[in-house]
């Protein structure tokens, strides 16, 4: 199988383009994770389940005859409030506690969401058909669904809007201040509780956008959340917190890696290779840092 990739360069081109378009989506989810990790110091295992929930919102619009692309507008609005609700109920009690506590608590939320979605939407693999058709490149050797191009475009648009919002708006400034030093921000009159809630809401909204796009381009299933969490975690640790170009680049890199793993190893090992890559990256960084007698913090 592996020589196929080299004998037919078109497959390589196809895999690369697919991977990049997919990676932009991953980068969007990872951006949300980097945001809340940086601001609240929480690793949200339920990230992937928020994505899937966003996807189901778009899917339901599709079922009721509305074009699923509108989900890109509707899903983040709903997800913002879902995020605020999760924050108020659970996250605000674990913000300043041990990180393991927050991991376990969000793991609980993840299981809860998985099962609730399973009840509400059924255990079928679904997708919202956008009817966008496909684009052929290189004498129709490379096939790109327009929905993928659309989703990559929308992701970049949302990410750009958010970056500008974080730079210019008052809330954005408050969020950045809290990320730098929560205590100092509090002294200077920033309501950190509100900032945390808003951050978690924005993160959930980003997940909603990504989910809606995923339901258009790929498929969604209630139990497919965890791989998205792991992917975004991986992207963030490779890029580092607060390194936006890094997040975009490593997101695309991960997308390309996955497409090649899919071609070379076979689809059944796709998710497994993502998780193994995570382990390898962590181990690599651990060895690199241990030479300086440091460890990942």
């Amino acid at each position: 199988m592996d020589f196929l990739v080299f004998q037919y360069p078109m497959i390589t081109v196809q895999a690369c383009l697919d991977g990049i378009l997919l990676g932009v989506l991953f980068a969007l989810i990872a951006y949300g994770m980097a945001l809340q990790w940086g601001v609240m110091n929480i690793i949200n295992i339920a990230q992937g389940d928020l994505v899937i929930l966003g996807g189901y919102i778009a899917y339901f619009m599709y079922l009721y005859g509305i074009h699923p692309a509108w989900g890109v507008i509707v899903a983040p609005v709903i997800m913002y409030f879902v995020g605020i609700a999760i924050y108020k109920l659970v996250i605000n009690k674990v913000v300043d506690r041990d990180l393991f506590i927050s991991i376990l608590a969000t793991f609980g939320i993840s299981i809860l969401f998985m099962q609730l979605m399973n009840f509400a939407f059924g255990a079928d693999v679904v997708l919202a058909n956008s009817g966008y058709g496909t684009t052929m490149l290189f004498d129709s050797n490379v096939v790109l669904p327009n929905s993928k191009i659309f989703s990559a475009f929308i992701s970049i648009l949302f990410a750009a809007c958010l970056v500008i919002y974080m730079k210019k708006s008052k809330l954005g400034r408050a969020i950045r201040a809290t990320a730098q030093n929560a205590r100092a921000a509090k002294i200077l009159g920033v309501d950190t509780e509100k900032v945390y809630a808003a951050t978690f809401g924005i993160n959930a909204a980003l997940c909603g956008v990504a989910g809606a796009l995923i339901s258009i381009t790929f498929t969604i299933h209630p139990y497919m959340g965890l791989p998205y969490t792991i992917r975004s975690f991986m992207i963030v640790i490779v890029a580092g917190l607060g390194n936006l170009p890094g997040v975009a680049m490593s997101g695309m890199g991960l997308g390309v890696f996955e497409e090649f793993a899919d071609y070379i190893l076979g689809t059944e090992f796709r998710i497994g290779s993502v998780f193994l890559l995570l382990v390898l990256i962590l181990v690599y960084r651990r060895f690199k840092l241990s030479r300086k007698r440091e460890y990942l913090k």
């Binding site: 659970v90 506590i101 376990l104 609980g108 993840s110 792991i230 059944e268 913090k297």
Partner: protein, 350 residues
């Protein structure tokens, strides 16, 4: 060992030996309870005592499960044909073959995960805190996904473990597995108890409290971390092997490498009972198992919802666990010397 302890232990031993005859309908449940206690207690060695919270002990559990069943089949029949036929009637283990296979299988199931833990330990245990947690989570899920793609152990369609041979009594299967898991539990308890009374436990606690300082004191932390993880892996593999035979069917992601269920259960049970205590995981596992079975029986379908809520509630409102709560309430019983003035001052502060 003082008099009270002797009475307690012999009471538990007698109850354990008599239980399958007193409650014949609950034999399987009691066996699962024994396995759960083994898992929680050994998770506690590196999760509670060493402070390395792992979601990945499920790796050793699943590995042990697959290894035990594969050895048990592979010793007498071609493994590939067995998994292909789903363990149909063409291959039947005689009682001797079954028990021989089980014995060798359990030894392999315990030893190989221990070696694996030793091999990967140096790389993985260099990570700390949440990186370790996420890395082990990834390890467990990756193992499940990959074993789901390997043909010879049944890939996605699963692996039927050898059915219990006909030895003339219908009750034999339940009793066999009950006593197997009960004796594993006793073995684990004795092992863990003797570990906890040595310097080794103090070293683990030192690593938990401040690893850098422990290293500065001249303790080779990495060595002890790996040994701690290997002990965990040994018993996890053993428990997995038994559980595989008990369930009778192995699926890569739903039974063996079931990070969503068993992988979280062992963490949850240890936390519920109280991390870093000898009895905490045992109490936690018992309460959790009773709760779980009740819920699984009466609210079928809602069990994962309940599980999710339970995790959140325990983690947020009860992170110290039952033993931690008792310790705060009755510190004298735990051998802590309390100054009466100190306590009064604390009450006033509250």
């Amino acid at each position: 060992m003082n008099k009270n302890n002797l009475i307690l232990y012999s009471g538990i031993l007698i109850f354990g030996l008599a239980a399958p005859f007193l409650f014949p309908a609950f034999k399987v449940q009691l066996s699962i309870l024994c396995v759960l206690i083994v898992l929680a207690t050994t998770w506690n060695i590196q999760g509670g005592e060493m402070g390395y919270n792992s979601f990945g002990n499920i790796l050793f559990y699943g590995l042990g499960m697959y290894l035990c069943a594969s050895v048990q089949v592979g010793m007498f029949f071609p493994l590939a044909e067995w998994t292909e036929s789903g363990g149909e009637k063409t291959f039947v283990h005689t009682p001797t073959q079954f028990f021989q296979g089980m014995a060798v299988g359990l030894i392999v199931a315990a030893v190989v995960p221990t070696i694996v833990a030793g091999l990967i330990g140096y790389s993985i245990l260099g990570l700390r805190g949440h990186y370790f947690a996420i890395c082990t989570l990834g390890l467990g899920v990756a193992a499940g996904e990959i074993s789901g793609g390997i043909e010879i152990i049944g890939a996605g369609q699963g692996f039927t473990t050898p059915p219990f041979p006909d030895v003339g009594s219908l009750e034999a299967r339940g009793e066999f597995f009950y006593f197997l898991s009960f004796f594993t539990l006793i073995l684990t308890f004795i092992a863990v108890r003797s570990i906890y009374s040595t310097r080794f436990k103090l070293i683990l606690n030192a690593i938990r409290d401040n690893e850098d300082k422990a290293e500065a004191m001249g303790i080779e932390t990495m060595k002890y971390k790996i040994i701690g993880w290997m002990i965990s892996a040994f018993f996890c593999g053993l428990a997995g092997g038994i559980m595989g035979g008990l369930v009778g069917y192995i699926d890569s992601t739903d039974v063996a490498f079931d990070g969503r269920e068993m992988g979280v259960f062992m963490v949850l049970m240890a936390i519920l009972g109280g991390k870093g205590t000898l009895w905490g995981p045992i109490i936690g596992a018992t309460i959790f198992h009773i709760f779980k079975e009740g819920f699984w029986t009466f609210f079928l379908g809602w069990q994962y919802v309940a599980l999710g809520v339970l995790i959140v509630v325990i983690v947020i409102y009860f992170p110290e666990g039952i033993m931690g709560w008792l310790r705060e309430k009755y510190p004298e019983r735990f051998g802590e010397v309390v100054d009466e003035k100190d306590r009064k001052a604390q009450v006033e502060l509250k």
